[in-house]
């Protein structure tokens, strides 16, 4: 049906040198001291705020992680040991331990990170002039979906700390698994734009996480593959129907969230929260990195981490105000109306600087969002 590229349509044939059994030994780069663990989750024992996690590319921030042990796991190439077949099979699925989620393994400089090493052979037939440093690091940047990362690093003491986590949802967390020679680390730290994991990842921690776990399943970016138009239509339709039937509303309701000064926007599904508190915590975590950056210089010395409290101070203090645009196009302060009414009328969210929010409802000294 679709015609080929303009121009001559060559008879394409695959002419690739087959990778015969690799002669070389797969060399796993042992980055002994080089494991850089990065704290994507805002964990308290990690001091650096420079998390290298990458937020998802686009929308669908689902923050609910389903930790059911019964869920399917990926036979993920759990890059592990140096021993490997000499044929094509690169990775054996390692033993996967679902319970061991993102490990909180503070590295030497207090930065936690998720790492996974791959075991790609360095020998590329047919490209022999590049048999050089294809180190055996496979940085799996597996994001969306259920990826099992073997977290054995800390125990074995090998450089291969493979993080094992099950991301039953939470789309778009690109875990940067950096293997590295120590030299590159500082630069990595600096140059990677600060990004946060979607707050949903906090759940992996299994720790105190005040995100709700709604009946809706945790989501992966772009999965299941349904077009936005259909998704949004369905969400609206379901909501309409359920109002009639009185059943719980399962559809998704994504709204954009912007923050003054942040380089990119996010999207959240309002249906995954049931209270303002949940939404606000989720947004805090999502945008923590930007705030941290900005307030970094203001931190009191010796106060290393930015826990929730600090952020809350920022958000609920004088710095930031959460506002939303309603169906009429007006910008309103979040928190005045009941939650259900709010999600029905909210079209987008904006985290404004306190100074810009003058003109909206007066700021109370306590959090205005404690409704529901």
């Amino acid at each position: 049906m679709s015609p080929p590229l303009l121009g001559v349509e060559g008879g394409g044939h695959v002419n690739a040198p087959l990778m015969s059994s690799s002669a070389s030994v797969d060399c796993i780069t042992q980055s002994g001291s080089g494991l850089k663990e990065r704290n994507y989750l805002g964990l308290s024992d990690c001091s650096s705020v420079d998390s290298s996690a990458v937020s998802n590319m686009s929308e669908e921030n689902k923050n609910n992680l389903n930790l059911k042990a019964t869920e399917l796991r990926l036979g993920l190439p759990g890059s592990r040991s140096p021993e490997r077949d000499s044929d094509f099979t690169l990775l054996s699925s390692g033993k996967l331990d679902e319970k061991q989620l993102f490990p909180l393994l503070p590295s030497k400089d207090g930065i936690c990170s998720l790492m996974q090493k791959s075991v790609i052979s360095g020998n590329k037939r047919g490209f022999s002039d590049t048999v050089d440093g294809f180190s055996e690091i496979k940085s799996s940047v597996f994001t969306e979906g259920k990826w099992m990362f073997n977290a054995t690093g800390s125990d074995s003491g090998t450089p291969q700390s493979v993080v094992e986590a099950k991301l039953a949802g939470n789309a778009g967390i690109n875990v940067i698994l950096s293997n590295n020679s120590s030299g590159s680390q500082p630069s990595m730290k600096k140059e990677l734009p600060t990004r946060t994991l979607q707050e949903g990842h906090n759940k992996i921690n299994g720790s105190n996480n005040n995100n709700s776990a709604p009946a809706a399943k945790a989501q992966v970016v772009g999965w299941p593959p349904i077009r936005s138009f259909r998704k949004n239509t369905l969400a609206t339709t379901l909501k309409t129907n359920d109002e009639v039937d009185g059943k719980p509303v399962p559809g998704a309701l994504f709204v954009k969230v912007s923050m003054d000064g942040a380089p990119y926007l996010r999207k959240v599904d309002l249906r995954t929260y049931s209270t303002y508190q949940e939404l606000s915590s989720a947004l805090e975590k999502m945008f923590m990195c930007f705030t941290i950056r900005q307030c970094g210089s203001q931190e009191a010395p010796g106060r290393e981490m930015l826990g929730e409290n600090k952020f809350k101070d920022l958000v609920h203090g004088s710095d930031y105000v959460l506002t939303f645009e309603d169906k009429d196009g007006d910008w309103m302060l979040v928190g005045d109306v009941p939650w259900e009414m709010f999600i029905e009328s909210c079209k987008r969210l904006k985290i404004m600087k306190g100074s810009d929010a003058i003109g909206l409802a007066p700021r109370a000294t306590e959090k205005p969002k404690n409704q529901n």
Binding site: E9, V14, L18, P77, S178, P225, R227
Partner: protein, 581 residues
């Protein structure tokens, strides 16, 4: 001898060649045929807007009347392509505005279209007839106003599934009073209400109107009035049908529908109250295409409607239809060629409807002409897939989405390798395949061995190793588009099959294990490919080369690296250096 054959005769003969493949073949015979052909080619299809430049197209084909251009990769539909990635149509429009004054048709898919582009279109092409914007974005209803106001000979305006910033419904009123040429209008993606009287008048004065797809804002009680003015309609899409049922609305609707003797396709039905469906029974026997995928109607009502559509060829429906409804479908609609079943509630942990693999098996058994399937479900088994394959060796498109990633065969808990293997083995003409569920490298071995006509393959959460990718790249001879997400494929298979990539339109890999170093190498070795690394973590050489890139998009091109890349896209250049805008 060829050179003594008059050009006019050749040109006359070539005019009968409509397929691009044929025309491409003809132009390879000899230089003079190349020349003659290029002067008389009127329709151009560009499958990837970055594979060629507007200048190259215009230089080769100076007398084009219709272009169709596709932009973003398919996975952009699922938000895997970041915003601002590209696919801007403006450079094309401005180049064509200068060189193709007689251009009549522009059809775009997944491109960024601005109001400026629309205005330029409306003012540059005096005989402009067809504008089709499928899954496009970047424009507002103001752009539509320009089109409506200035395109005096417009026949088709199709905005299917585009994301339009809906400033108001006023754009429709910009069609001049003496504008009568409309044949097709699809505004179903728009949100705001258009002036109903303007719509009525427009429809009344366009006697050739064949396709009318309304948007949600048109309530059911107004449909009758529209249908009465356009009884010649062939394709009709309702608006929302949620108004509480009233006898007068219903009877008006019945009367209006019964006046439509040519209706073949129905769509819309947002929020439809089931009691309205019987109003359409009178047209059902002629209906060949039915899109109920926005109708949250339960199975019995669906079955009532479908059972009257004995000539149905294409059905899009929500999973409310359930296995029972599909069974009814398979017994009433023997001409069915295409079935799409969408999930009503994809994000809930538990199934909300009784739709399983069995429904699809039943349809495959009962509908001998079934060739195109898109099916969302929550469980699947190898046995079912094998049955489907055996029942329907004539399948051309098979897209299965098991909602849970990596779900195994629910009966045996094994991977679904053998099931999909059976599909590719039996369905020898299969052109498009999407896999899901638990899959190992073995399924790719089957695919590489059997799927010789496969043109497009979509993978997610599948495979174990590079071997899987290698099977596909080395075995699928007809492969044009390969899109992969979250699979453990890395450098080896990609580099080993680099030459294959030049025979394909494009390759997308996101959240896989392709290292930056491999991307650089690929870019170095393959000058006819654009190897684009999409990475929002910052420049890739700020990280070790072994780090996997977030996303990779490789496509063949004669236009060189593109100049409009955003700051998170890097083209791996020939000299190994990074080039980014």
């Amino acid at each position: 001898m060829v050179y003594s054959f008059p050009e006019e005769v050749l040109e006359y003969v070539f005019a009968f060649l409509s397929s691009d493949k044929d025309r491409n073949a003809v132009s390879l015979v000899c230089k003079s045929w190349y020349e003659i052909e290029r002067w008389c080619r009127r329709r151009v299809f560009i499958g990837n807007c970055y594979a060629v430049s507007p200048q190259i197209m215009i230089r080769r084909f100076p007398e084009v009347r219709a272009v169709k251009i596709k932009g973003k990769p398919h996975f952009a539909d699922f938000n895997l392509v970041p915003e601002r990635w590209g696919a801007y149509v403006y450079p094309w429009i401005s180049a064509m505005a200068r060189s193709y004054p007689w251009l009549e048709e522009i059809k775009l898919k997944r491109m960024v279209v601005t109001d400026e582009s629309l205005e330029l279109i409306s003012k540059s092409f005096k005989n402009f007839k067809v504008l089709s914007l499928s899954s496009c974005e970047g424009f507002t209803t103001d752009g539509l106003s320009s089109i409506a106001a200035n395109c005096r000979n417009l026949r088709e305006l199709d905005l299917r599934e585009s994301e339009v910033e809906d400033l108001s419904g006023h754009w429709l009123s910009h069609f001049p009073d003496n504008f009568t040429s409309l044949v097709s209008l699809n505004m179903s993606c728009l949100g705001s209400e258009v002036s109903f009287s303007a719509l009525e008048r427009l429809i009344s004065r366009c006697p050739n109107l064949k396709t009318l797809r309304l948007n949600r804002a048109v309530p059911v009680e107004k449909l009758a009035s529209l249908l009465r003015r356009a009884p010649q309609l062939v394709e009709f899409g309702t608006g929302a049908c949620s108004t509480e049922i009233r006898t007068d609305i219903f009877s008006n609707l019945v009367e209006a529908f019964s006046g439509c003797k040519h209706l073949e396709s129905l769509s819309g039905f947002w929020d439809v109250v089931p009691a309205y469906l019987p109003a359409m029974y009178c047209v059902c026997s002629r209906i060949t295409k039915l899109n109920l995928s926005y109708a949250t109607v339960q199975s019995p009502d669906l079955v009532e409607l479908i059972s009257q559509c004995s000539n149905l060829k294409c059905l899009w429906v929500l999973d409310y239809i359930e296995d029972a409804g599909l069974k009814a479908l398979s017994s009433y609609c023997k001409d069915l060629q295409e079935l799409r079943v969408f999930p009503s509630d994809p994000y809930s942990a538990e199934p909300n409807v009784s739709l399983t693999e069995q429904g699809l098996v039943t349809v495959s058994a009962g509908c001998p002409k079934l060739q195109s399937v898109l099916y969302f479900c929550r469980q699947m088994s190898n046995a079912a897939l094998i049955a489907i394959a055996r029942n329907r060796p004539n399948l051309l498109r098979f897209r299965l989405c098991i909602i849970e990633p990596q779900a195994p065969d629910y009966l045996t808990l094994e991977p679904l390798d053998t099931g999909f293997g059976a599909i590719v083995e039996h369905c020898k003409e299969l052109r498009r395949l999407s896999l899901s569920g638990l899959l190992t490298d073995r399924v790719f071995e089957y695919i590489g061995t059997h799927a010789k006509k496969l043109e497009m393959l979509s993978l997610a959460f599948a495979g174990d190793s590079d071997l899987g990718l290698h099977h596909v790249l080395s075995g699928c001879e007809s492969l044009r588009k390969l899109e992969i997400r979250d699979c453990p494929f890395g450098d080896r298979a990609l580099l080993a099959n680099a030459a294959k990539l030049e025979t394909m339109r494009s390759l997308w890999m996101s959240s896989c294990s392709v290292s930056y170093g491999a991307c650089k190498l690929l870019g170095q070795k393959m000058p006819n490919l654009n190897v684009e690394v999409i990475d929002e973590r910052g420049p890739p050489d700020s990280r070790p080369e072994s780090i996997s890139v977030e996303k990779l998009y490789v496509y063949r091109t004669v236009a060189g690296p593109r100049a409009d890349k955003p700051d998170f896209v890097w083209t791996m250049d020939e000299d190994g250096a990074l080039r980014f805008s």
